[in-house]
């Protein structure tokens, strides 16, 4: 059992490096959140409860959500994926045949992926497209190809899983916000001033004011850039924090103890936070090494291990779930899992069961 636990933990931790890029994930999440807010506003405007998801979907289809060459859908949604102004999508709008995708540069691929996600497509859609197009390989390539077709004004053969509803008014407001030189950080600052939890809404409100000729309470670009997500500098800070945590004699079990106190689910984050506090000269609420593996836990592990062995013996002898149900009736035990344990223990003790496998 403990060996299993160690091996599994090692396999999990060894593959944490596969985690996707945080900035990319956040950018797409912002775009999708925007689509959800629009749907919500559209639903509220049309009478809320009356307008169900099906109506929203059909309105999306009727509006022709896919961009045309002269449309602004691709460009405007991409600009929301990243606060900084992006190059015009016209660089990729050459309507060439796309039966055999040509290799994209890194910048083009990023732009194509942004367009793909901005249009509401996701991983499952890429798999569906791969089947239709008889493409194999990395799904990112398929997404990029789909994004390229979208930017070229083409229609994809599948509908997006996340419907993106175009809203020209909001786009105009947000474009006005960015055109005036304001940044995402400015939107966060304005949201704080106006007591709005959502920076995107702050962009819309700010853009509306700008278009009406009003001035905003902060100057463009006046808000400092916060520490970015998962940058190399933050990584080095995390490493320093972790080192401080370990150097102070704290252990993995201590992190588990702190996790319960601080209500942070991620043990790694607990260590980083604890290390940061130590580096700031603070003391932690528990002493180093004060959280050994509890005897109760070890005991529970031992019980669980014995149970696992019994259940394995049960299945190894050829018995099935249906047999457990039969035995549960014979032994009048309602929990079939407990029946398997009891039966397995009997088998391990050399006894025979009242039914054959």
């Amino acid at each position: 059992m403990n060996q299993d636990a160690d091996q599994l933990r090692e396999a999990f931790v060894a593959h944490e490096y596969l985690a996707p890029d945080a900035a990319e994930v956040l950018a797409v999440a912002h775009v999708r959140a925007r689509a959800y807010r629009r749907r919500r506003r559209a639903a509220q405007g049309a009478g809320g409860a009356v307008l169900g998801a099906g109506l929203v979907a059909s309105s999306v289809a009727a509006a022709g959500w896919l961009p045309n060459n002269n449309g602004r859908h691709g460009g405007s949604t991409i600009s929301m994926a990243a606060p900084a102004p992006l190059p015009s999508p016209t660089a990729l709008t050459t309507p060439t045949p796309v039966a055999s995708p040509s290799p994209l540069t890194s910048a083009q691929q990023d732009q194509a992926l942004s367009a793909y996600f901005a249009a509401g497509y996701n991983y499952n859609d890429a798999l569906a497209l791969a089947q239709l197009w008889h493409m194999t390989g990395d799904p990112s390539t398929i997404k990029a190809e789909a994004g390229r077709r979208l930017l070229a004004g083409q229609t994809l053969p599948v509908k997006p899983s996340v419907a993106s509803v175009a809203n020209a008014t909001d786009d105009a407001d947000v474009n006005a916000f960015f055109a005036a030189g304001y940044t995402y950080e400015d939107a966060v600052g304005l949201a704080g001033l106006w007591k709005i939890s959502d920076p995107y809404q702050a962009k819309i409100d700010a853009g509306t004011k700008l278009l009406a000729g009003d001035t905003l309470p902060i100057a463009p670009g006046s808000q400092p850039t916060p520490s970015t997500v998962a940058t190399s500098s933050s990584d080095s800070v995390s490493t320093a924090d972790l080192n401080a945590y370990v150097a102070a004699g704290y252990t993995y079990e201590d992190a588990l103890g702190l996790r319960g106190l601080w209500k942070i689910s991620d043990v790694y984050q607990v260590k980083v936070d604890a290390g940061a506090r130590l580096l700031a000269g603070e003391t932690l609420p528990i002493a180093p090494g004060s959280q050994p593996t509890p005897a109760a836990e070890a005991s529970a592990n031992a019980v669980a291990s014995a149970n696992d062995n019994a259940v394995n013996a049960y299945f190894s002898a050829g018995y099935t779930y249906d047999d457990a149900v039969t035995l549960s009736k014979l032994w009048k035990i309602s929990d079939t899992y407990q029946v398997k344990i009891d039966a397995g223990q009997k088998l391990l003790a050399g006894q025979t069961l009242p039914i054959k496998p």
Partner: protein, 172 residues
């Protein structure tokens, strides 16, 4: 805590959790994107929770468990292909980095588990949650958690034995 503060401090950990949970970088990305999009829209409600971090992680878990079955079907084929590759790698790299190969091997076998069984293993051995907490998270009885864990471990061992037999047959 604002949504921005949450993502600036918690997102890397959330992504690590998602990739361990899903076993697939692309799926982890999609799941977290979807969850963050919905979390952003209803952040006020989430911020009122005792632990926004735990709330969002629960959202990630639910999203993963309810993800379309089509993904799982396609992914099993991909894992089969990957198992072959790992078998080749094992033959040539057995002398060094054995632990890395073993971890990769186990990772590939984990990908063959039903989602709920995998989730239980991740919550128990990666998140270090006890069975009662896992049961609460998965909305089932602790006995079901133990049952899923037991089946998962059994499946992993069986897969390993089958793989070994195949490799031995190929060598002979």
């Amino acid at each position: 805590m604002t949504f921005e503060q949450f993502t600036s401090t918690r997102l890397p950990g959330l992504l690590r959790y998602a990739v361990v949970l899903t076993g697939n970088r692309e799926l982890a990305q999609d799941v977290v994107q979807e969850v963050l999009a919905r979390a952003q829209v209803k952040w006020r409600q989430i911020d009122r929770a005792d632990s926004p971090d735990a709330y969002v992680r629960r959202m990630v878990m639910n999203e993963y468990l309810s993800w379309r079955r089509s993904w799982a079907v396609r992914n099993v084929r991909a894992v089969g292909e990957r198992l072959d590759a790992i078998g080749d790698a094992r033959a040539t790299q057995r002398d060094h980095a054995q632990s890395v190969v073993d971890a990769d091997d186990l990772w590939a076998r984990l990908a063959t588990l039903p989602r709920k069984q995998r989730a239980v293993l991740v919550l128990r051995y990666y998140e270090q949650l006890d069975d009662v907490a896992i049961a609460d998270l998965l909305d089932c009885a602790p006995a079901t958690v133990r049952s899923n864990a037991s089946k998962a471990l059994k499946n992993l061992r069986l897969t390993s034995e089958q793989q070994t037999r195949v490799q031995e047959k190929e060598l002979t």
